[in-house]
């Protein structure tokens, strides 16, 4: 992994902790590690699948970036092949700071045919994102402070904008864009409401609130 994966502090314990504070479970199932970027204090829990091997087969040398250049959601939604520009590097999956991928969740970069060839696109996840256990994620991008409940399916090229909330067991259809601060639920998922103005705000500075800072939780995981 880009941020010096091999640097293993705790040889004991369930998690391998990189010097940038990433916590990767020993039971996480990761393929194509060079194509995966963890920004730091990122947690990959047991039985998480990262499909780093699903990536553009392009000559340019592998330069891993933590770029969060927004992939134009509308183009992602309406299946236009124009959005390939942002994926010159061979980043398959990039995950932001203090983001937690809970147990047995699968991250697979979305792919579509482009001029007759299968073209994977990078899967980008922002900061302070929590993706609950047992999810399948094929999104193009998940912005900061998104909360995804347990057992959700995020379809190919779906885009979750900041501070939105995906309720437990929802299935976001392929290409759907979830607007900022929306609450989506159902199969297929639709916008069922808006988060409160105070979503993610921890007034008392103790513990954890949905959509809020995850540093505390990350610290608690070991």
């Amino acid at each position: 992994m880009s941020s010096s994966r091999p640097a293993r502090k705790s040889s004991k314990g369930d998690y391998i902790e990189t010097d940038s504070g990433n916590k990767v479970s020993r039971k996480a199932l990761i393929t194509g590690t060079p194509n995966i970027t963890l920004a730091g204090r990122t947690v990959l829990m047991p039985d998480v699948h990262l499909r780093g091997d699903i990536v553009r087969v392009r000559p340019p040398p592998p330069t891993t970036t933590t770029s969060t250049t927004s992939l134009d959601p509308s183009s992602a939604a309406t299946a236009k092949p124009s959005s390939s520009s942002s994926s010159q590097s061979t980043t398959a999956i990039s995950i932001g700071k203090s983001t937690i991928i809970a147990t047995s969740t699968i991250l697979r970069p979305p792919a579509r045919l482009l001029r007759g060839l299968l073209q994977p696109y990078p899967l980008k996840i922002g900061e302070q994102v929590l993706i609950g256990p047992g999810c399948v994620v094929e999104s193009a991008q998940i912005h900061n402070h998104v909360h995804v409940g347990a057992r959700c399916v995020l379809g190919a090229f779906s885009v979750l904008r900041e501070n939105c909330r995906v309720l437990e067991g929802s299935c976001v259809p392929a290409g759907m864009v979830v607007p900022p601060g929306a609450v989506v639920a159902g199969r297929p998922a639709r916008v069922v409401g808006e988060v409160g103005e105070g979503f993610g705000v921890d007034g008392v500075g103790e513990g954890w609130v949905e959509g809020g800072e995850l540093r505390e939780v990350v610290r608690g995981i070991r």
Binding site: L167, E168, S170, A185, V192
Partner: protein, 520 residues
């Protein structure tokens, strides 16, 4: 259709908003004719929206089971919401969207008394056990919801036209107005009685309106945009869905949602216009994960028993036992002859269940058979001999079709009224004096030539009360009763009436006798 630039259209409407301007406008009387649909890209049916310059003029039709909200001048409401218990959930309670949540598992009070009560209807005709403030708060939330999701007003609503049944109880009306003023912050609310709006929506001035609502069906005879007679029965939507819920299995009742789904998807009504052999067909209907084999006949059964089954002979029974046709017939029976004559051939069947295929034909056909059987003789119970004797009474109605030739208007109607002495002569308001329709006929005759047909049973489709109100509102006409916010907030409806009373404008007293009176 010719189309013109919206700017043009706007100028016109602006003009119409000033009395002084209207005179100027009247000099060019034909401009409005060239008004046409604004060619909007928006391809939903609401596309045919007229650019009324007075934005944010809302038209709201408030029903017991659903609410329609939209903008004046548009052909359709922006939204038509049915009430459901889920609307009563707390903010942030999304459990109904959880994948494993099943509305069918929702425990409900059973039995017809409780059928589709809590959550499904905003009020019931019997207000005794209704928490009015709850109704009010609920309506407020609903309006807020509608405003946020469908209207998205950029500024406060300037006017609101409220369409409601004339039989809407005063307290409810008060609560509703409170909600409108409170949530939409509108300065004025205008009241339109539903039945009359249905007539307007049909392009008529007189008609027999059969409004099949949720709690009750209201049959009202409208003449010159006034309700002159009404009959009511509980044979309506609620009873119908209840009957539907029993269709599959008598002891196990379906949810309201399922019952309505079956009704709307496969409910139909036997009539002369039924395709041959339809009732023998079998259909498979699916509810949740189960599917049932059922015959078309059975699917038509609830409509039969609820709307047309005759519990007892008409005449001896109150309206609830009569079939819809019987109620309609009785209303007609109590009309003065010439009014009746017009109404018979202008029968508007509206309200939710009226869309059930076959229902309209059936109702008209039943009504027809009633008329043929009894004529217009209110006395029903002396022997068959007399009935045949009373047959002639039907003739005048037929005769009246002939006498609607423009040439000799007045006398003949009188002559028709004379020879049938056993006809009831109800207290006819002065403005309904027999000669006045003739006056109209004469007038219209002078302009139109042949006068409207009458005497034969004929159904007329209406665009519905909401659309009717939308038409009127967009034509910048004042409502039957206009209520100003401040006055209402000051004294409520009662105070309002007192305000209206002294206003010595000619015509007000008369108006009150039939508009606000409808709600008092």
């Amino acid at each position: 259709m010719t189309s013109i630039t919206p700017s043009d259209g706007r100028r016109i409407t602006v003009n119409r908003s000033r009395p002084s301007a209207v005179s100027a406008h009247a000099t060019s009387p034909h401009t409005p004719l060239s008004r046409s649909v604004s060619g909007s890209l928006y391809n939903s049916p609401t596309a045919t929206a007229f650019r009324v310059d007075d934005e944010n003029h809302l038209v709201i039709e408030l029903g017991a089971r659903s609410i329609r909200v939209g903008f004046a001048g548009e052909s359709r409401p922006r939204c038509h919401l049915y009430y459901s218990p889920d609307q009563l959930r707390r903010i942030g309670d999304y459990r109904q969207y959880a994948p494993d949540y099943d509305a069918r598992s929702r425990k409900r009070k059973r039995g017809e008394e409780h059928w589709a009560r809590d959550g499904y209807e905003l009020w019931r005709p019997d207000l005794r056990d209704t928490d009015l403030s709850f109704v009010g708060e609920r309506l407020e939330r609903l309006l807020r919801e509608v405003e946020a999701t469908y209207l998205m007003l950029d500024s406060r609503a300037r006017k609101v036209s409220l369409v409601a049944g004339a039989q809407l109880p005063r307290p409810l009306l008060e609560v509703a107005l409170a909600g409108l003023f409170g949530v939409l912050q509108t300065p004025t609310v205008t009241l339109f009685p539903a039945s009359i709006m249905a007539v307007v929506g049909a392009g008529l001035r007189a008609a027999l309106v059969v409004d099949i609502g949720w709690a009750e069906t209201v049959v009202s005879a409208v003449y010159e945009y006034r309700e002159v007679a009404t009959g009511r029965t509980v044979r309506a939507g609620r009873a119908l869905t209840w009957a539907m819920s029993k269709i599959l299995d008598d002891d196990e009742e379906l949810t309201v949602e399922d019952a309505e789904d079956i009704l709307i998807r496969s409910g139909w009504c036997l009539s002369d216009s039924t395709p041959t052999g339809m009732e023998k067909e079998m259909v498979t209907i699916e509810i949740g994960e189960y599917s049932y084999e059922i015959s078309r006949k059975e699917l038509a059964e609830p409509i039969e028993q609820v709307f047309f089954a005759q519990d007892s002979k008409t005449g001896h029974s109150d309206d609830h036992d009569k079939s819809l046709a019987a109620v309609a017939y009785d209303v007609l029976l109590h009309l003065p002859l010439d009014v009746r004559k017009l109404c018979i051939s202008r029968i508007i069947i509206t309200g939710g269940p009226s869309s059930i295929p076959g229902l309209k034909s059936r109702l008209l056909q039943e009504l027809n058979s009633f008329i043929n059987a009894y004529g217009w003789n209110p006395v029903r119970n002396y022997g068959s001999v007399y009935r045949t004797a009373s047959k002639p009474d039907t003739i005048p109605t037929q005769a009246s079709t002939q006498i609607t030739i423009p040439l000799e208007p007045t006398k003949i109607t009188e002559s028709t009224t004379k020879p049938s002495p056993e006809l009831p002569v109800p207290a006819v308001p002065a403005h309904l004096a027999p000669q006045e329709p003739d006056f109209v006929r004469a007038k219209s005759a002078s302009r139109v030539g042949p006068s409207p047909i009458s005497g034969v049973v004929r159904g007329v489709h209406s665009l519905g009360a909401w659309t009717g109100a939308s038409l009127l509102a967009s034509l910048r006409t004042r409502g039957l009763a206009e209520i100003e916010r401040d006055k209402f907030l000051a004294g409520g409806l009662t105070g309002l009436l007192n305000v209206k009373q002294p206003a010595g404008k000619q015509g007000v007293g008369e108006r009150r006798s039939w508009s606000l009176a409808a709600w008092t």
